[in-house]
Symmetry: C2
Subunit: 299 residues, 2 copies
């Protein structure tokens, strides 16, 4: 199929690579001259403008910061016709996605909201795709999703908004898990037991082999610990997108208690006020490992 990818940042570029590898045509759009050059080198047809993308493709995949999604839609809309499909693969708020779907349906344009997980390893391994919206449109461009996802790692998860809704909750769970690991490793490092008596590289290695808490995030923890378990030069300040906050807000709205996810969210705020601690340093490193998120160095 012919796929337009709007936004060739870290995630958009990885998606373009996977589409090309699966034999699809990719028309890419980005502001950066450097990215455009790199994209052309791997076989992306670099578009001059959004009109160019819309006219050459069957589906427009939007992979831009959430604040720019409405602008991209406004720009591309005049060049689309009834039956065309837009996918928003970013971390948009699900109510925005539901609004966009409704607005575009006036022109007969289908809008799918796709939660995308997998981080920087997704390019090689394939992503996890949770798709909401019109099921027939999902089926129609199934080969596009299949090219981007890891084998089996995708699904039409519900009506409009469902994809971004569950991705938000996914990130909320991620907040809780990251903080649980951070706290645990800090207790071992700085806790009541003889300080620094336990090698965190060896501990994370054996936990990852066969313990109950083995996970992808623990695998990354071992990778961090193998390089540096002091984390002296790493800032413990933790950034966040909107997803953690939205998860807690959605839970409150529905009367679902989420003390663990909420505690993890509060730690992030606290970390930015105070500089954080060993636990948040480890979380910062893990976010860097899986998502390429920037880590502030103290020196």
């Amino acid at each position: 199929m012919n796929v337009g990818v709007v936004g060739l940042g870290r995630m958009g570029f990885a998606i373009a690579v996977r589409l090309l590898n699966a034999g699809h045509q990719v028309v890419g759009l980005d502001h950066s001259e450097e990215i455009k050059k790199k994209a052309a080198e791997i076989g992306v047809t670099v578009a001059d403008d959004i009109k160019d993308v819309a006219e050459q493709t069957d589906v427009v995949w939007i992979m831009v910061p959430i604040s720019q999604v409405d602008t991209v839609i406004k720009d591309v809309r005049p060049h689309l016709k009834a039956g065309d499909i837009i996918v928003d693969g970013g971390n948009s708020f699900y109510k925005d996605s539901q609004r966009r779907e409704k607005e575009l349906s006036a022109d007969g344009i289908f809008f799918l909201d796709c939660g995308t997980s997998g981080g920087i390893e997704g390019e090689g391994r394939g992503f996890c795709l949770m798709v909401g919206g019109d099921e027939a449109s999902y089926t129609k461009i199934h080969p596009v999703f299949a090219a981007i996802a890891a084998p089996g790692g995708m699904g039409h998860i519900g009506p409009s908004g469902a994809g971004h809704y569950v991705k938000t909750v996914h990130n909320g769970i991620e907040y809780g898990m990251l903080q649980a690991y951070g706290e645990g490793f800090q207790i071992v490092k700085e806790g009541a037991f003889e300080k620094n008596a336990i090698d965190l590289e060896e501990l994370s290695r054996i936990w990852q082999v066969s313990s109950i808490i083995r996970s992808f995030l623990l695998e990354l923890t071992h990778r961090v610990m193998a390089q540096d378990q002091e984390l002296h030069d790493i800032s413990g300040e933790l950034a966040e997108g909107g997803t953690g906050k939205w998860t807690v807000e959605q839970a409150h709205e529905a009367g679902v208690p989420v003390p663990v996810i909420e505690a993890a969210l509060k730690v992030r705020e606290w970390s930015r006020e105070t500089g954080g601690n060993y636990a948040t340093k480890l979380v910062a490193m893990l976010r860097h490992e899986f998502g390429g998120h920037a880590v502030k160095k103290l020196k």
Copy 2:
């Protein structure tokens, strides 16, 4: 080697099986006639008493409820000689293990504290073993640990107490992770988004394939959801051993903030007062899946 296993409950029995499969001799002790019969059937030499165990074996592996460890040590001690080795494979408090090591060292007996993770799947897959205490003793009975552990899933982690210390923290992390998943799935099920619009079996399946939050516990979540995602008849009351509480106490003692692990601990208390909610029902089911812990049925 000749290994005595005192306590052939769920975990002790699995350990005996793995030792036999690796070609070791196992002398087992248990109160239950039913268990003794089953043990004899798989090739365990069933002992009449603790003296019998001590005299026939090179190492005594204790796998009993933590309240019975001191009694077992008291009973076995007169039958051991200098250089003999005891391993406590249960979830003892690390300060108790340090005390026991010190007491036994007066007789020249070595005491190793071994945190054991892996649950009911450990029998087939192999356990995760975190061992504290005299390193030469660890090396001496290395084949015993290697038979019980998954390939590579073991290590001498530090001085006396270190094994049980890190196992306690492991369980604290587990508390946090379990509760994070519980909260996340409850938000999807009962949250602001259209109720029951999203199939939790499909969601847990695709998350487990390639998302950032994939883990052993999420694999079990998918197994639970494939059978029953309503959990109507499951009690949300959560039991606990001492480890979650100890983790929080150790953290407080050392001035390490652990808001997420602490929140998860408080939820367990709350669940027993109130009967819990969907999140704690899921946690109860997961504890049953990995550890065989009892789940109360509501009907």
